[in-house]
């Protein structure tokens, strides 16, 4: 699972949603809320979340000729003793993209999209955004849950792929990409946080 979105300016209260607007939609939302209450009432205990230090990837340029790029990161949860219980959490991708056309007099602006996901053969891609005028930053965010069997040699590991794609077949140019990943995780089936529990992000 993955989602990506353009970062809109935050409203004073909460952010706008893409849900339906009618009474039926509110009925569905309330049904979901009730289901959430039931699920929480029977949910498994978990430790508190531990945040990883933000991983800042090397900036790079993506041309409209190349169109696609992938980076891989590894999120790893460890403790002073080997983990015996599984962990879970979530990871978030933050991207700043700037369009630099080869010929700045051309008004063309291509679409651009990102995705953060477990390494799968058919990765989901987020919604595209339209890049801004030359040099203008566009901010995007994407996220993915960290769950499933993760225990490897006493640690929990989640290999993730970070995909970037720009529209090809348009005027030549490059997208200057700055990106970073954050993550947090907790241990399941216990309230107690294992000693020296830590989460770290690296490029394998």
């Amino acid at each position: 699972m993955s989602h990506a979105r353009l970062l809109l300016p935050k409203p004073k209260s909460s952010s706008p949603s893409a849900w339906r607007t009618g009474p039926r939609a509110w009925g569905a939302r309330c049904a979901l809320l009730l289901a959430s209450v039931s699920a929480l009432a029977t949910s498994r205990p978990t430790s508190r979340d531990v945040q990883a230090e933000e991983y800042v990837g090397a900036p790079f340029s993506l041309s409209t000729q190349t169109a696609k790029a992938t980076r891989r990161v590894l999120v790893r949860a460890t403790a002073s003793k080997p983990l015996t219980r599984s962990a879970e959490g979530d990871a978030a991708l933050h991207v700043v993209a700037r369009w630099t056309p080869s010929d700045p007099s051309l008004p063309e602006r291509p679409w651009f999209r990102i995705s953060l996901h477990s390494d799968t053969p058919f990765p989901p891609m987020g919604d595209p955004v339209v890049l801004g005028n030359p040099g203008e930053p566009v901010v995007l965010e994407a996220g993915t849950p960290l769950f499933g069997e993760c225990l490897v040699d006493g640690a929990c590991e989640w290999p993730l792929a970070v995909d970037f794609e720009v529209q090809g077949n348009v005027a030549p140019g490059v997208v200057e990409v700055e990106w970073s990943v954050t993550a947090q995780a907790h241990v399941v089936d216990t309230d107690d946080l294992p000693k020296a529990f830590a989460v770290e992000i690296s490029e394998p």
């Binding site: 353009l6 339906r20 607007t21």
Partner: protein, 184 residues
């Protein structure tokens, strides 16, 4: 009880409070919509703007407040027409943006790429507004901007749409609240 153990209980309490705000048989919905419109965009004229005034208020003599107001763009058809019928290499993007003219804030943005003549319709693009507390009156003007990719993309893009709104009143018969969406 430690802090981590009390967290699910806190979430449970918060959700229970939210659930009490759900509509019941004692509430009623008031709905309104603008007339359907077909907006046509070409590569040479790639942008169209529309303004809609939204007003929700009690009928004269009523003193009720409303706690939920939902607005969204309902798209009934998206079509990309090409002169020779063949899909060219450049698949044009279509961007829909909604601005709240009270503070010029961008409240909604959605982009889709035409990779076929009639792509899947997006969800109705909901843009709130979030009401911090029950209100007696709400009035705002929204600017809706449709923009498509210019050259070298080709063809004509048509968007059939209307703006929809609904408000929740504390009465089941819905006649106490007026909701109007007026194209300007």
């Amino acid at each position: 009880m430690n802090a981590s153990a009390s967290l699910p209980l806190a979430r449970l309490a918060a959700l229970a409070l939210l659930v009490t705000g759900c509509p019941s048989r004692d509430n009623g919905w008031v709905e309104a919509a603008t007339p359907p419109e077909a907006t046509v965009l070409t590569a040479s004229e790639p942008r169209v703007q529309r303004r809609v005034q939204v007003r929700a208020a009690p009928e004269p003599g009523e003193k009720l407040e409303f706690s939920m107001l939902n607005l969204g763009i309902e798209t009934t058809r998206l079509a990309w027409s090409l002169p020779d019928g063949n899909i060219p290499q450049v698949h044009p993007w279509l961007r829909v943006r909604v601005f709240d003219e009270r503070d010029e804030r961008l409240v909604k943005e959605h982009v889709l790429v035409f990779d076929r003549p009639e792509p899947t319709l997006p969800w109705p693009l909901s843009f709130g507004p979030d009401l911090p507390k029950p209100l007696r009156e709400f009035e705002a003007t929204y600017r809706i901007e449709f923009e498509r990719q210019g050259p070298p993309s080709e063809g004509t893009i048509q968007v059939d749409w209307r703006l929809e709104g609904s408000a929740l009143t504390p009465y089941p018969d819905m006649k106490h609240l007026q909701l109007t969406l007026t194209p300007l």
